[in-house]
């Protein structure tokens, strides 16, 4: 690491409708360093990096690359200036080979692509940076970790001097993460800079040279990793000293009364592979049960099978001691199961339909809003107005299509509909993902309020902090199995992190 500055961003401001995502952010990246960008969800990390990689344009502020003021109008511009980004959601063509994906869009003037030459170069890069991947393999055959390596190779192949990695470990197992860290250090040693975006303190401590902490769209500070501690970073990140607060419950959970009982449920996923292996658990009255795990370990299938969207191959589910007809959404609804799916605008709501129609989607057959199988428009509108007010949905009127609302308000519409059915069980899958801080707070309050009223909540989330602060009990899922079941109070993060990654030893993540 030298003191030479590779990138300097100063006074960056970026506004979105309703949110100021970056509010005067400063960031300085030195050549050859691994620089962590730390902050909670919604702190403005992704916005800042999207500006740097040319996806967004800053409303105010200056970006300097190697001392020269630059403005990028596309990711290609940024790449030409030596800045490449590895997104959380990969941009890869699944049917192409690794080599084809790496050279995609590149034109060296020749009509034909020399597969052998490209493969050789990809191989060379992958050897140099310990990015093990077969250049001739097709993307769909690769694991998520390998696909991420391809994304990194793509950026390196184009000669990027500065690499931005947006929460790269979110999809990785601990072992893959460790090998990624080795790669990042190797790149630093070669004089490349790495911007490592994360909200996981342990990783930041393990891999970075310096850390810039963002909070609420502003820079809180930049510190040398060697001179700080997990505790200091955490308090910078959340703005108070943390032993992160557990939510105080008005009514404690009543675990003697079971509202949901899942017994030996096995499920296959869309590809026909078994994705849940004999899952059994119960939720008590007013209990919030958190499901922790890396995405894709069966959480989605679990939510779907309980809410009746997916037919299990075996098992029983009962609500309030009454056995449920499986694989029938209407049976699930009428037995009192509410579902807040992770994909709000696809599975949760009809995006192009109005707020009022969406609010009526679940109780459209009730006598309040329909008669002789015909809908009563005025009643639907009144129901919508009441709910919009009660749940504080910010919408111009009730006939606005939900897709025009902001993420937080979309989620409020969904919650309003699900809660108004007075459920006894609520399945909430990543209910706060992608929301801004205010909306996250509201959603969490609603979940807790529901539990206080006696609803049994299954909270599926990748955000461990969310689970730790809301849940009464934590289930850890790995490869379709519940590998751990522990009370949330005094839960050991390290242990959860390890079991999430499939290890049941006390091996430290470092």
């Amino acid at each position: 690491m030298t003191d030479q500055v590779a990138v300097r961003m100063s006074g960056i401001v970026k506004r979105f409708p309703g949110v100021v995502a970056n509010d005067g952010v400063d960031l300085e990246i030195r050549a050859g360093e691994v620089h962590a960008l730390l902050g909670e969800n919604g702190a403005g990390k992704s916005t800042l990096s999207n500006i740097l990689c040319g996806l967004y344009r800053a409303d105010e502020g200056v970006v300097e690359v190697a001392g020269r003021q630059s403005e990028f109008s596309s990711p290609r511009d940024a790449l030409n200036a030596g800045i490449g980004m590895v997104h959380q959601h990969f941009r890869l063509v699944p049917t192409f080979t690794v080599a084809e994906n790496v050279v995609l869009g590149e034109s060296d003037g020749s009509l034909f692509m020399n597969h052998d030459q490209v493969a050789a170069r990809v191989q060379e890069l992958s050897d140099r940076y310990a990015l093990a991947v077969d250049p001739t393999a097709r993307i769909w055959q690769l694991s998520v970790g390998e696909q991420q390596r391809v994304e990194i190779l793509k950026v390196l192949y184009r000669g990027a001097k500065v690499l931005i990695l947006d929460e790269p470990t979110a999809v990785l197992t601990p072992i893959e993460a460790r090998s990624l860290f080795a790669t990042l250090r190797a790149m630093g040693e070669e004089g490349r800079s790495v911007i490592f975006i994360s909200h996981k303190l342990g990783e930041v401590m393990a891999v970075s040279d310096r850390v810039t902490v963002l909070r609420g769209g502003r820079t809180v500070g930049t510190v040398d990793t060697s001179e700080t501690s997990t505790r200091d970073l955490a308090s910078l990140m959340v703005g108070r000293s943390v032993d992160f607060d557990r939510v105080v419950r008005a009514t404690p959970a009543d675990t003697d009364t079971t509202v949901l009982r899942v017994e030996d449920v096995s499920v296959t996923d869309d590809r026909g592979r078994v994705s849940l292996h004999q899952i059994s658990f119960t939720i008590g009255r007013g209990e919030i049960v958190g499901v922790a795990g890396v995405a894709g370990n069966g959480q989605r299938e679990l939510a779907e099978v309980i809410s009746g969207i997916r037919v299990p191959i075996a098992g029983r589910i009962s609500v309030m001691d009454e056995e449920l007809k499986l694989g029938k959404a209407r049976a699930a609804i009428s037995s009192g199961i509410a579902h807040v799916p992770e994909d709000r605008l696809h599975t949760g709501l009809a995006a192009g339909h109005s707020v009022e129609d969406n609010l009526a989607l679940k109780n459209y057959r009730s006598v309040q809003i329909s008669k002789f199988r015909l809908l009563k428009r005025r009643a639907i509108r009144e129901q919508a107005s009441t709910l919009v007010e009660r749940y504080d949905v910010k919408t111009p009127d009730t006939v606005t299509p939900v897709r025009l609302l902001s993420g937080g308000n979309v989620q409020k519409v969904l919650l309003a509909r699900e809660f108004s059915a007075l459920p006894s069980v609520l399945i909430a899958a990543s209910p706060t993902r992608g929301l801004d801080v205010g909306a996250i707070e509201t959603v969490r309050e609603r979940l807790v309020a529901a539990a206080d009223e006696g609803v049994g909540v299954l909270l599926i989330s990748e955000d461990l902090d969310e689970i730790l602060s809301l849940a009464d009990r934590i289930l850890v899922m790995y490869e379709g199995r519940i590998v751990d079941d522990l009370p949330a109070t005094g839960a050991d993060r390290e242990r959860i992190g390890l079991t999430m990654g499939g290890s049941n030893t006390t091996e430290a993540v470092k």
Partner: protein
């Protein structure tokens, strides 16, 4: 069945299969970029009428006339699919609806018949046809002669195009980019590939190839202008694209298979084999339905390698 009949069937399968292949190849290029063209039938008819008009109005040597007629037919086909491209790519309308609209608008009793009337194409017969060639004087060679050395210029062109397009699609950079556009336009866009341009160019060129297929009908098969003369060949071509797994080589084989079915009725009739002609004529369409039903299942789509973004307009992701 003697070997003579066998040779006739093969050589006429190639003959009847050629226009199907032209249209299907156009479909491959269009669909590889993610645009679904259901307007092939209408496009072929426009090409057919334009080609017939060209053969009546371009003077000069026979070669000159035929070449120009083919070029005019292709231009007309390209023009029609420019309209489709504008609807599907720029206006992002539903591609099924847009394609059907094109076929209804340009097809039988539509624009093609209108042009035929106003330009007087249907009044006088086509004077110059695309005739079969005697290549290297080998046409009389037993067995191979009628099959390989006694076809017309468009058939030979189709063989060249089959090889060239395979190389283009699977070996060249442009082909790689085109396939990326059809598989994952967001990825292609992120890598700096101009999705709109790729889609436009290939849709238009695909239409031009359908136009050439149409010319084959009006100047070689019939040869004359008759309203609605392609008689569903465009739909067969669409099925062929799927049948050939979006690959030119396999599609050529498929085209000849369907060509054989189409030629069967006239060949057998000439031989006094008594099978209902109507039944035989319906055979290709029956096969088309079977193929389409078989491959339109979700399973087949995933397995056969349909471009993942086929029929989906591309919109850049905005926050």
């Amino acid at each position: 069945m003697n070997s003579n009949l066998f040779i006739i069937i093969i050589s006429s399968a190639i003959f009847y299969g050629t226009p199907l292949f032209f249209a299907a190849l156009g479909g491959i290029l269009t669909e590889r970029g993610g645009v679904l063209n259901l307007g092939v039938e209408g496009t072929m008819l426009i090409g057919a009428v334009a080609g017939a008009w060209g053969s009546q109005h371009v003077g000069g040597s026979s070669w000159m006339t035929i070449t120009m007629a083919i070029v005019i037919g292709m231009l007309a086909g390209g023009l029609v699919s420019t309209l489709l491209a504008f609807l599907c790519i720029t206006l992002k309308v539903n591609q099924t609806v847009a394609g059907l609209a094109i076929t209804i608008f340009a097809g039988t009793v539509g624009l093609s018949s209108y042009f035929a009337k106003t330009w007087g194409v249907s009044e006088s017969p086509v004077t110059r046809q695309i005739r079969k060639l005697d290549v290297l004087g080998l046409a009389d060679t037993p067995i191979l002669g009628p099959i390989f050395f006694n076809q017309n210029i468009l058939t030979y062109l189709s063989w060249i195009l089959c090889v060239a397009s395979s190389i283009y699609l699977f070996r060249s950079r442009f082909g790689l980019h085109l396939r990326a556009v059809g598989e994952s336009p967001a990825t292609a866009d992120a890598m700096g590939i101009n999705v709109t341009r790729y889609r436009y160019l290939h849709t238009i060129f695909g239409g031009a190839l359908a136009g050439a297929g149409g010319v084959f009908y009006s100047l070689a098969i019939v040869p004359n202008w008759v309203d609605g003369m392609t008689a569903g060949a465009g739909w067969i071509a669409i099925a062929l694209v799927i049948f050939g797994f979006w690959r030119p080589g396999l599609t050529l084989v498929g085209a000849y298979l369907f060509g054989a079915l189409q030629s069967l009725s006239s060949t057998l009739k000439a031989r006094n084999v008594s099978i209902s002609g109507d039944l035989l004529n319906a055979l290709p369409f029956f096969m088309t339905i079977v193929v389409l039903v078989l491959v339109s299942s979700r399973f087949a789509h995933r397995r056969l390698g349909a471009p993942a973004a086929l029929g989906v307009p591309y919109e850049r992701e905005e926050r």
